[in-house]
């Protein structure tokens, strides 16, 4: 399998082991070498990377329950930003709370994936997520920042 551009992911996750799980899944994925994962431990740090360091990933994967700025608050800020609103954001959480899910879709997420108990199942879900986004046309950094569009 071949993709034209590497897939750049911003993973926002406060839990160390969850970040390890994600990275391990990516590295065992057939496209793993073409996936670049940047990590932020909370929404605040992510916003700093996105806004101050002008880091524009292809997709954002985030947990909902995080300290300081939680996932929903982060998504609201993102969707109110003229540039950042174009980045597809996928929620990856243990919360099966229906209200959280509805609220996330209302704000405008691109997916809601529940972390299953078994690592095996987790690996399956996250691999599919990576495969899916790898075949998608994604908004390029220069495209969304360019004033000519």
């Amino acid at each position: 399998m071949k993709i034209s551009n590497p897939l750049s992911i911003l993973l926002i996750e406060d839990d160390t082991i969850e970040r390890m799980k994600f990275n391990r899944t990516v590295s065992s994925h057939p496209l793993g070498k073409q996936v670049k994962v940047q990590e932020a431990v909370n929404g605040e740090e992510a916003l700093k990377m996105l806004k101050e360091e002008n880091f524009i990933p292809n997709i954002i994967i985030l947990d909902l329950n995080m300290p300081r700025i939680n996932g929903l608050e982060f998504l609201k800020i993102l969707k109110n930003d003229d540039i950042l609103r174009f980045i597809p954001s996928i929620v990856l959480t243990t919360s099966s709370n229906h209200r959280d899910m509805l609220e996330s879709y209302k704000i405008g997420i691109a997916g809601y994936v529940i972390k299953p108990l078994k690592y095996e199942d987790y690996e399956d879900r996250v691999s599919k997520l990576i495969s899916y986004w790898s075949v998608n046309e994604l908004v390029e950094n220069q495209f969304i920042t360019s004033p000519t569009i």
């Binding site: 839990d15 082991i17 969850e18 390890m20 799980k21 391990r24 329950n65 243990t94 919360s95 099966s96 709370n97 959280d100 972390k115 299953p116 108990l117 078994k118 690592y119 095996e120 987790y122």
Partner: protein, 394 residues
């Protein structure tokens, strides 16, 4: 003119008045009927339900008078409430030094005759009066005075009712809010408990994968047991969360065709080879919450399979119509349940065996759903032969 004296405990009296949240409320037929009746019985053109506020008297009902309040200083009622036990009667206010130059006497509405029964609350506070007023000198018979007292009592009863309704309303609101908080709380707790379990699961999986050459069979068994226990912990948390978040309020009642729902449930369940499930033809369409009905059937079928001890597991599902609603049953040929446990199995965390899959939540969840929808559940069983769970849905 003599201004009315300020009653003792005026602060407490005003607080009591405010506790009824009646001041400046809209007029109500029940109160208006009483003033109309008082006016009729006492043969006076005017009757008022007057509540004495800090600087005014305000009329909850004003029969035969246009204004809805007057200043307290001119108020007859403010005098009347200083003698809470007596009926306050002025036969001709023009001859009474306290009132002869009162603008309510010398001008419209010409309050010449006045009779007021204090409205005394159960706590002993006079809040105002039920009074009758005439534009000419008058007298009340004993019968009329007695009737006026009876009507004043009715006013107090109406006010008490109003207060209780408000209290009930605010209590209900509190309960609703607490329920919502509890619901959120259950989600947060379950999230916080689930996260470390997921972490342990991943770490153990990596141990299993990355060190499979180093682990001997005993070590692999131990890892397997850790994982099985994690699964149990997870289903416990999930079960508690489901149980805690089942509530009446957010039930979505819709038409559910069980002839469609049952096959759907069976399709997503893992039915082992040795199990035969017979579902009665033409199950009814009922009004209920599809998601909850799903949980009820799935839990009962799941139990019937999980605890079955026969080489060929047989499960029958059917129903019979009742006068109001339906009775459904899930029958199995499992080990059966001794009669002393027939109540206990529906209690939270009660289990009859200690297999890893059993959490002791399933049946209590089923019972909670069914009793919330107004139904009942029971079990009939012969030990060694099987059990049948019956439940009704109105």
């Amino acid at each position: 003119m003599k201004k009315p004296e300020i009653p003792q405990n005026e602060g407490a009296r005003i607080a009591e008045l405010e506790s009824y949240s009646i001041l400046d409320s809209l007029s109500e037929d029940d109160y208006d009927a009483i003033t109309a009746l008082a006016s009729e019985i006492c043969e006076t053109p005017i009757s008022l339900i007057s509540l004495v506020d800090q600087n005014r008297q305000w009329f909850k009902s004003h029969h035969g008078l246009a204004s809805s309040e007057t200043p307290k200083d001119y108020s007859f009622c403010a005098h009347a409430i200083n003698e809470p036990d007596d009926v306050f009667i002025i036969e001709d206010s023009r001859l009474d030094a306290r009132f002869s130059d009162n603008p309510l006497v010398t001008e419209e509405p010409y309050v010449i005759f006045y009779a007021g029964v204090p409205l005394v609350t159960n706590n002993g506070f006079p809040l105002g009066t039920l009074c009758v007023i005439d534009n000419k000198p008058n007298l009340l018979s004993n019968g009329q005075i007695k009737s006026l007292r009876i009507l004043a009592n009715q006013v107090i009863k109406l006010m008490e009712l109003r207060k209780n309704e408000k209290l009930l309303e605010s209590t209900l609101n509190d309960v609703r809010q607490q329920n919502e908080e509890l619901n959120d709380y259950a989600h947060i707790i379950s999230h916080d408990l689930k996260s470390p379990i997921r972490n342990i699961e991943a770490l153990v999986s990596w141990l299993q994968e990355d060190y499979k050459e180093l682990l001997d069979d005993k070590g692999k068994d131990t890892v397997g047991l850790i994982k099985a226990n994690l699964e149990k912990m997870d289903s416990l948390i999930e079960g508690i969360l489901k149980y805690a978040t089942i509530d009446k309020k957010h039930s979505l009642k819709q038409k559910v065709n069980l002839s469609i729902l049952l096959p759907e449930i069976l399709q997503i369940m893992n039915i082992p080879e040795h199990c035969t499930i017979n579902v009665q033809d033409k199950l009814p369409e009922i009004a209920g919450d599809k998601f909850k009905l799903h949980q009820v059937f799935q839990n009962l079928i799941d139990n019937a399979i999980k605890y079955n001890d026969k080489p060929k597991c047989m499960i029958n599902i059917g129903f019979k119509p009742l006068d109001n609603g339906f009775e459904f049953y899930v029958e199995d040929n499992g080990p059966g349940i001794e009669s002393q446990f027939h109540e206990k199995i529906f209690q939270m965390f009660q289990r009859l065996d200690h297999t890893v899959e059993s959490t002791g939540i399933g049946l209590s969840l089923v019972k909670k759903i069914i009793s919330h929808s107004g139904g009942k559940i029971r079990v009939e069983s012969t030990v060694g032969k099987g059990s049948t769970f019956y439940f009704t849905i109105p």
